[in-house]
């Protein structure tokens, strides 16, 4: 059974969301989902970029003005 973890990074500036996402994803199992909540536009560039480079499935959802969820599915 895969689980879903929400990581609240609202109000955090670079590079904190990226470091937190790296640590959180490390703890997850394959097929688990990590949802990173971000309101800092530069983290919107480096978090998805990092996750895609690692080979994970990434989707971005704009949940409100200036608020996004980066949905990362751990594939390996």
């Amino acid at each position: 059974m895969s689980k879903e973890v929400v990581l609240d990074c609202f109000g955090e500036a670079c590079p904190v969301p990226l470091v937190k996402a790296e640590k959180a994803l490390e703890k997850l199992e394959i097929n688990d989902i990590l949802i990173v909540q971000i309101d800092h536009s530069c983290a919107m560039k480096n978090v998805p970029e990092w996750a895609r480079k690692q080979g994970h499935n990434v989707e971005i959802e704009e949940i409100d003005d200036g608020e996004w969820e980066v949905i990362i599915e751990k594939v390996k």
């Binding site: 109000g11 590079p15 470091v19 309101d39 800092h40 536009s41 560039k45 003005d65 200036g66 608020e67």
Partner: protein, 182 residues
């Protein structure tokens, strides 16, 4: 009205120019072109943080202080700039332009948000970081714009030296951030 904005949201050129971030390479080219224009028209390389020192001096003068004997402002050029006043200070207007340009960009992308403070640690980290950056930029006679970007683009060796030590500083800063503020 809402239908109009909904239509704009779907427009591919709106997405390309306003909504989505420009690719790094596009940003780099635009910055290069505009810094050349700045250099050519004002005869001075682009700088950002030196302006804040002048703002500080004008603010200090406003409350009755004097910086006439400060080493930093002792050159005739610096004195002339201070005497001419903030209204006649081109770099001040450029910085204001950057602030309003950035505001326009986030508004146009409908990404504007007033962020909440998460903890008092953020206040300490931000204040400490700001002080270190401001102090460092002044004793280095420039920040990552004036010393690094303008330095390297003018073929100055000092820009590369600044770059090397900025990386060292960034590594140390990141380690401290992770250790004490996360």
């Amino acid at each position: 009205m809402k239908a109009f904005f909904d239509k704009i949201k779907q427009n591919e050129f709106y997405k390309m120019w306003f909504k989505d971030a420009l690719p790094y390479i596009t940003g780099a080219i635009l910055l290069s072109v505009f810094q050349i224009v700045t250099f050519a028209t004002t005869k001075n390389p682009w700088g950002v943080s030196g302006v804040f020192a002048n703002w500080g001096a004008w603010l200090y003068q406003l409350i009755g202080g004097s910086v006439d004997n400060w080493y930093y402002f002792s050159s005739p050029g610096a004195q002339a700039t201070l005497e001419a006043g903030i209204i006649n200070h081109g770099p001040t207007w450029r910085n204001i332009g950057i602030i309003f340009g950035a505001l326009f960009a986030t508004l146009a992308a409908s990404g504007f948000k007033i962020k909440k403070l998460k903890s008092y640690k953020q206040v300490i980290a931000a204040s400490l970081g700001g002080l270190l950056m401001g102090y460092g930029a002044r004793i280095a006679f420039g920040c990552n714009i004036g010393a690094l970007f303008s330095g390297i683009s003018s073929m100055s060796l000092s820009g590369w030296v600044f770059a090397a030590f900025m990386f060292v500083g960034a590594i140390v800063g990141s380690k401290l951030l992770v250790k004490y503020f996360m």
